[in-house]
């Protein structure tokens, strides 16, 4: 219940009448419900455009993330000795790097190679696995696969790529689904990355739009909350639809 409350409050708040004196705290029950707030959102931000950008971002970045991180995870699990320690060490080290330290150098670098400021600039992060955390996640998941399975596949003449594609990925499906879900959420809601990496508003994802809505006057908060619901809904909807298969994938060991 503690967990569910925010959603309820958010939805209720989003149908409050805007432009009335801010209630003492949040007046929970709206009377009457003001559904027009949802239409009002696009008066303030180009909602459709931003949603589209976000969708594009997710569609590109999430698969790339899953592919890059799961391949790296498999490499870690099958490497031995120094190579293995090296890969894990690099990943843990990168996990420790503060995001704030990277914003400025990153944008300087990406501009230098001409990759800044596109709707997909943020998706580049997927090449680095989005976060090394996902790589470690895969490494752990794959370390549970009996070694003899991977060995058998190799003996059957499967290339490293085929071992990954045909054996490791399906066997590590829980991890893949988890990483896909987590990275979807990440790309759907990240706003610091696009804020620093993408200068043209036309290329912004919706989270950044929502971020600017969040700075509206208190009196307009219902509209912000409506925006928040619009932005949260796809994530939740995807979760609700996928939840069964998601958890069943997670469950199957």
């Amino acid at each position: 219940m503690v967990f569910l409350a925010p959603l309820i409050v958010m939805v209720l708040g989003s149908v409050q009448r805007p432009l009335q004196p801010p209630p003492d705290g949040l007046d929970l029950w709206p009377d009457p419900a003001q559904w027009s707030n949802y239409l009002a959102v696009s008066r303030f931000i180009p909602l459709a455009r931003l949603l589209l950008n976000s969708l594009l971002l997710v569609v590109v970045a999430v698969p790339v993330t899953v592919v890059v991180t799961s391949m790296a995870g498999l490499a870690i699990v099958t490497a031995r000795g120094g190579l293995r320690r090296g890969l894990i060490g690099v990943s843990v080290f990168m996990l420790l790097v503060p995001a704030a330290a990277l914003w400025v150098p990153r944008v300087v670098l990406l501009r230098g190679v001409g990759l800044a400021d596109t709707p997909l600039t943020v998706a580049l992060l997927a090449l680095a696995g989005t976060t090394p955390f996902y790589v470690l996640l895969f490494a752990l998941a794959y370390s549970r696969i009996p070694v003899s399975l991977l060995e058998a596949a190799t003996l059957e003449g499967l290339s490293p790529y085929a071992v990954w594609r045909r054996i490791a990925l399906p066997l590590g499906r829980p991890a893949a689904v988890a990483v896909a879900a987590l990275s979807t959420l990440y790309y759907w809601s990240t706003f610091m990355d696009p804020l620093t990496l993408v200068s043209s508003p036309g290329n912004w994802p919706v989270a950044l739009g929502l971020r600017s809505l969040s700075e509206m006057e208190a009196a307009l908060y219902p509209i912000y909350l409506a925006g928040a619901v619009i932005v949260t809904a796809p994530a939740l909807l995807a979760f609700a639809i996928g939840q069964r298969s998601f958890f069943s994938a997670v469950e199957r060991s």
Partner: protein, 292 residues
């Protein structure tokens, strides 16, 4: 001599991506740490000046202290909640599990700003339900937004419940434990508690460890959004965490060079902090191995 199986080429995309997006930028940041840099002109090399300044930068060390205090409380709490929820909801038991799982995951799906807004209301000293409930229970109101420790407690709550990620990861880890092992314990007449402490938790330990390291990093370095939106560092800098301070230093005061110095320092400090659970886990695992 021999031929191990070669699958390291699979790591190449990841390593290249990391090189471009993390390692090289980090190297740049490390270089900037020894400069005066404001972003408008090329950086000026200043040698060890920034380090000297760092040594005497009380505000920064205070902020590191605040971050440490919060991390010490939040990280175990988050792990406890995430792993606890994962264990409780590991076995499908109909609709309640589904609802429970969705609920555990939800807060992480809600935009930060909305989440912060909600907590501003929940913690509100006058209208908030939490102080009211505490009052009704006869517990003294800690002053969630008004006193230093109250604000820290509030921040802890805000961060503690957003554990959807860790929850899912823990759930996946729990699911990966072969059922056969539980059958064996069951046959031996081991209690559920025994199975959890001797089988589940030790087998989940590596993942919990990674979660712990990551949580430390998240709380100590990246989670300035709650601090910024809920308490804005106040009251009297009681919740001015290291990342928030660095953020201000870099972007409000425009000192990108010195902010780099602070970031790199923080990186080193978190490295040390993260080494702690790693060390602890190694010790524990060694004990576990032989004892059962």
């Amino acid at each position: 001599m021999g031929a191990a199986i070669r699958r390291w080429p699979l790591a190449v995309p990841y390593l290249l991506g990391s090189l471009l997006l993390v390692i090289v930028p980090l190297a740049l940041a490390a270089a900037l740490a020894f400069t005066d840099y404001f972003g408008f002109r090329p950086p000026e090399f200043t040698g060890a000046d920034n380090l000297v300044r760092l040594a005497g930068d009380r505000a920064f060390w205070d902020a590191v202290g605040v971050s440490a205090v919060i991390a010490v409380i939040v990280v175990p709490l988050r792990l406890f909640l995430a792993v606890g929820a994962a264990l409780l909801l590991a076995r499908p038991r109909g609709a309640r599990t589904a609802v429970g799982r969705a609920a555990a995951y939800l807060p992480s799906a809600i935009p930060d700003a909305a989440w912060a807004l909600l907590w501003l209301w929940i913690l509100n000293p006058l209208y908030g339900p939490l102080p009211a409930v505490l009052g009704a229970l006869g517990v003294a109101d800690p002053g969630f937004l008004t006193t230093p420790w109250g604000a820290r407690a509030g921040l802890v709550l805000v961060m503690a419940l957003q554990v959807g990620e860790a929850f899912i990861v823990a759930l996946a880890a729990r699911a990966a434990i072969p059922n056969r092992l539980y059958e064996a314990i069951e046959l031996e007449g081991g209690s559920a508690w025994f199975a959890m402490t001797r089988v589940t938790l030790p087998l989940m330990a590596p993942i919990v460890l990674v979660l712990a390291v990551r949580d430390i990093v998240v709380v100590v370095q990246n989670a300035f959004v709650p601090a910024m939106l809920v308490t804005d560092g106040g009251p009297a800098n009681a919740t001015l965490t290291a990342p928030l301070l660095i953020y201000r230093r870099a972007f409000e005061y425009g000192e990108l060079g010195y902010a780099s110095t602070l970031s790199v320092t923080l990186l080193v400090l978190t490295g040390v902090a993260a080494a702690l659970p790693l060390w602890l886990a190694a010790r524990l695992a060694a004990r576990q191995r032989t004892r059962a």
